[in-house]
Structure formats: structure tokens, C-alpha cells
Symmetry: T
Subunit: 69 residues, 12 copies
């Protein structure tokens, strides 16, 4: 990482398909406005129940990206 500084933002991605898809949705959205995305960490996995089944997974991720010097 050299002497760089990173910022960490917290996002919640949702998906009706899977936990992995919810994570990808959060990261994909982050990439629209942020550059140099580097890592993520899952901090919460929850969701809504609809008709006795999982309606949406809602996965909270922290996403780290390098700040320009």
C-alpha cells in the first residue's frame, strides 16, 4: 500500500438472487462515482421476507479505495 491513504465508505447492496449478487450491486454502484476501489468487507447480512421467502438480500459492505495524493 506504500504511504497512500485510503477511505472507507459503507454501502448496502440488495438483490433478490444471492448474497454475492447484492455485494456486486453495491460495488458496481460505488464504481460509478469512485475510482481506485481496492477491497470490501461484509459487515451485515439481512433482508426482507416476502410471501414466506427471501424477498431481497440486503448486504452491508465497507468498501475501501485509495485517495489521490
Amino acid at each position: 500500500m506504500g504511504d497512500h491513504v485510503y477511505k472507507v465508505v459503507e454501502l448496502v447492496g440488495s438483490s433478490s438472487k444471492s448474497i454475492e449478487d447484492a455485494i456486486e450491486n453495491a460495488i458496481g454502484r460505488a464504481g460509478k462515482t469512485l475510482s481506485n476501489l481496492d477491497w470490501f468487507e461484509v459487515v451485515d447480512t439481512r433482508g426482507h421476507i416476502d410471501g414466506g421467502k427471501v424477498g431481497h438480500y440486503q448486504v452491508t459492505v465497507k468498501v475501501g479505495f485509495r485517495l489521490k495524493d
Copy 2:
């Protein structure tokens, strides 16, 4: 949520296929005896190992449902 009151129960779903399938099994079973299931949160993900592979995922979820007034 208006002024409703919700109850939260803790369940462990298991599945030999995936984490998502274990969650669905827990929620599906809850729906047999409880109405108005609303949300869930994953609180633990573990499992048994069988022959050097994952035998069963065992996912502990908290499930929230609205109580009748």
C-alpha cells in the same frame, strides 16, 4: 412500521447446498407456524465437515414478524 410491535425469533437453518438455501429453509419453516414474517438477519454461519468437504451449512438467522395488535 407504524406503532406495531414485532417479535424476533432465532432459528438455525441447514442445507448441504448453499448459505442462501440454509436461510430459505429456516424462513420456510418459520412460515409454517408464524404469520407476517417481515425481515431476517444472519447472526452466525457455520457448518459440519464431512469427508473433507462442507457437509451442511448451518446458518443462524434472527427472523422478525409483526404481532397482531
Copy 3:
């Protein structure tokens, strides 16, 4: 407490007024179906935002009550 056994249930009370009112709503609802309520503990305080203000407080409480011997 003598040699009694207690059970702890988790409830979410909501209120548009205050945190205390949300707690009272949860406990009041519990008292409709459970006897010998003894203590509570707040485990989470959150809520919905509506029009830039708190719409409802949603307070998760654990409520302990004595089981009949």
C-alpha cells in the same frame, strides 16, 4: 430470584414520539400474552426517517419473565 427459571424474548416496539414510548409499547404488548414480566434491556435503537425527520423510533428490547415452576 430464588431457584426460578426465566425466559427472555426479543421484541421491537415502535413509536413516533420517543424512545421511552417505543419501549413501553413493546412491554405493553408483551403483557397481553405473558405473565410475570420482570426486566428489560435495550439492545438496539433505530428508526425510519420520513420527510427529513424521525418518522418512528424502533427500539429492540429483550424482555425477561419468570416461568411457572
Copy 4:
């Protein structure tokens, strides 16, 4: 565990003798109304003091049991 679903309930057992006795009291009481008790986990150990000595141990346990399919 196969594809079974388990429920987890939280109980507080008390005893003037020992931590183990408080755990046994909680599990014994649970067995009066629940079948297929499978495992427990201690989540809190506290108690009342009486005359400068431990009056009662109060041990909070989570107890897991298999739900009928």
C-alpha cells in the same frame, strides 16, 4: 444435522450452588415444554450478592432444539 431447522430460546437459570447447577436448572425447565433439546451456549454469568457472598448464580443460556418437519 441434515436439513432440519432448529430454534434457539434464551433462558436464565439460577442456583445458589454453582454455575453448572444453574445451567442444569434452565435446561431441566426447558425440557418440561420442549422436545428434542440439542445444545446450549452460555451467554452471560451474573448473580445476586447476599450478606457479602454469592446469593444466587444467574446464568443466561441459549438452548437449541430441533423443530418437527
Copy 5:
């Protein structure tokens, strides 16, 4: 929540009146620059003491809002 993505920011609101007022101050300030505020969660409640009384409550809240697609 559909397949939306949400961002979570951390704010500290303060108030000399009450915990609820400090929460409202944080949310009110967030609404000046952010749209689609959706939920909050209290993560810390502290404050300064002034003249042997609470001078200000300082309540740390996480505030979630929906990002535009």
C-alpha cells in the same frame, strides 16, 4: 428496497435537551445536503458534563439513504 443501493454515513448530533433532540438535529442537518434519507441507527450515546449536570447529549447515528441509480 428493490435492487437499489444505499449509502450509510455516520453523524454526531448534539443537544442540551434530550437524546431524541440530538438525533433529530443530526438527521435534520443530513437532510440539508442529502436526499432520500431512509433509516438511522444509534451507535453511541455520550455527552459533556457541565456544572454537575448533562451539558450536551452527543448521539452518534448512522444514517442510510438511497443512491440514485
Copy 6:
């Protein structure tokens, strides 16, 4: 804070009225025997239930005060 050293004590204030009142009671009592009280942090909010309502809020606070050099 300069190079001062602070001590932190843990107190439980109780009140039948509100969480804020329980906090004020704890701080008010601390001020009878301690000087230079500076900050507090709420670490637990619980209470007794009496007749199906909150009997007393019991709020555990850590209180920090500056030690004389």
C-alpha cells in the same frame, strides 16, 4: 485535554421517568464526591417492569473526570 490524566468510573442511575433522568441522577450523585466531571458515555440501558409497565429505567454510564496533577 493537555497532558492531564482522567479517571473513568461506572455508575448505574435509575429513574421512573425517563432515560435522561436516570443519566442525570447518576451524574448528580457522582458530583457529590467527585470534582471536575467532564464527560459520560451510556453503556447499558435496562430496567424493571412493574405491573406491565416500565417501573424504573436503569442506565449504566461511564463518567470521566480529571485527576488533580
Copy 7:
């Protein structure tokens, strides 16, 4: 608890015999200088190993006692 205020102190009791004995030693010592001891909570259980066996249990307890008004 009425409107009393309680103080909580942290002690480590040790014993070569058992966890319960280490708790009793901590509470017994506290009672020599403090009055109105009311409750305790175990926050850590550790110990030294001596000759391949437990030499001493060292149990950290928080002890609460009522302050004089």
C-alpha cells in the same frame, strides 16, 4: 432499585480450586471495604497453567453496590 444510584467496580478474584471459589474470593474481599453489595457479572475467565494443570483461575467480575443517598 428505586431512585438509588449504584457504582460498579471491577475485581479479579483468583483460586486454585474453582471458578466459583474465585468469584467468592473477589466478592468477599470487596465486602471488607464496601457496603450494600448487590450484584456481580463475570466478564472474563482466565488463569495460569502450572505443571500442565490449572494453577489458578483468575475471574474478572464487575460488582455493583448501592451508594448512600
Copy 8:
């Protein structure tokens, strides 16, 4: 579990495909040098981001196995 003793080791499995695949990779590698693998628990789920997508999931698991008597 009888009176057996188990050891718990911490591993990080990685996979570009899914969380489950990362878990299987960790357990599969453990089985090359350890016998009697019994259970696992997920303790952290993170990963690297590559080109605005998940590059690799990195899942930290604790793996328990029975020691020979």
C-alpha cells in the same frame, strides 16, 4: 463429543466464484495435512475489488478437528 479434545485453526480461503467456494477451498486445503476435520465457523468475509467487480472473495474460517487421544 465424548471427552475428546479439539483444536481450532484459522484459515483464509479465497475464490473468484463465491463465498461457498472460498470456504470449500479453505477446508479442502486443511484436509491435506489434518485429519478428523469436524466443523467450521465463518468469522470474516471480505475480498479484493478488481476492475469495479469482486476479484476474489476472501473468507476467514475457523476449522475444528479432533485431536488423537
Copy 9:
């Protein structure tokens, strides 16, 4: 501890008798293959239920030992 380096391993001891006996079993087994065992810390206390009673206590301990220089 001088400038020594210590390693910490995680073990689960089990016993049908008591929590202390499960701890001793874990430490006794560790001593068969490791030298210079120095301290332990209990990190989890759980067990299996058999016939409505505790079948086995399963106590997870971290055990620290000094590495040879």
C-alpha cells in the same frame, strides 16, 4: 515475560462433569505436545444436551505458551 514471544492456540475441551474439568482436559491434552504452557482464557462455554440434561460441557480455551528463542 522479558522479550520472549508466545504463541496462542485454541482448543475445545469436553467433560460430562464440570466446566473446570473440561478446561483441565484441554490443558492436559495440550501439555502432551507443547512445552512451557503459561496461561489460558475461556472464550466460549457450550455443550450438548442429552435426555434433558447436560451431556457434555464443551469449553473453548485459548492457551498461551512460550516459544523457544
Copy 10:
């Protein structure tokens, strides 16, 4: 703090020299784009190992700053 509102951002500073230097790097970088920085809290200390030595300390800090009214 008066009735101000503060925002908290999470940064990771790195340094090959020391933990303090990594903290200063994170704060120094924050000050390039944010005004009224007020406090920080260390939430994680980790790093990369290079050639059997610490290559870089990577210290995660939360940094609080006052928002304009």
C-alpha cells in the same frame, strides 16, 4: 460542542515507520479536503509483512469534523 453536528469518516493511513506516523498521514490527508477536523479514534491496526519485518503499518481511524450550520 454546542448544538453543532459532526460527521465521521473512516480512513486508513499507512506508514513504514510507526503507528503514530500512519495516523498522522491519514489526518494530514483528510485536512486537504475537509475543514474543522476535531477528533479521531483508532479502530484497527494492521499491516503488511515484507521480508520477515513490518513493511507498512495500516491504521484505520475514524475522523470527526464539524459540519457548517
Copy 11:
């Protein structure tokens, strides 16, 4: 530790120089009024920012000392 009983107090030391210096300041101050100081544990590391740099490190330590029998 024999059968001694230890007390643990929580202090916050501050220093403009380093984390270690803040720890030494807390312990040095404790030694003015307490005897038989034995160990410490860092429980929080934070500080004030002044002019875009660390103004003071504020390190919260728990300090354990042996009580006279």
C-alpha cells in the same frame, strides 16, 4: 497470583508525543495514589486534532493492582 484479589481501574492518559507516552502518563499518575500496580490493557486509542495534526493522543487503559489482604 496466589489467592490475591486485584482491582482494575480505568484511566485516560494524554500526550502530544506518542501512544506510549500517553500510557506512561496514565500509569505514572496511578502510581501516586495506588500501590502494587501490576498490569495494564489498552482499551481505546483516540485523540484531538489541532491544526490538521494530532494535538493529543488520549489512550484509555485499564490498570490492575493487588489489594492488600
Copy 12:
């Protein structure tokens, strides 16, 4: 990280000089018997007090290293 698997071990390094030196001692010792050391995380910072000053810092680190395929 590709599809490698990593192992994480827990070590306690000590030093009379500084927290960083205790970390280096733990990592240096690990490197004598383990290859491919990759990262570390500090999980606890404590120490012994000697003559009213820090005698030794004792820093618990988790160290991750890549396993051979």
C-alpha cells in the same frame, strides 16, 4: 491473493521499548519457522507494570501466511 489458502496464527510479542518493537519481535520470531508471512493485525495491547512504569508491552498479533498449494 489468487486462489491461495492462508493460515492465521496468534502470537504475543513483548518489548520494554515500544508497541512497534513488540510487534516486530513477534513477527521476527514467526519468520524463523514459517515462510510467506503476509500480513498481521493487532488484537490486544497490554503489558506489565514495574516500579510504576511500563515494564514490558505485550502485543497480541494475528499473523497470516500463505500455505503451499
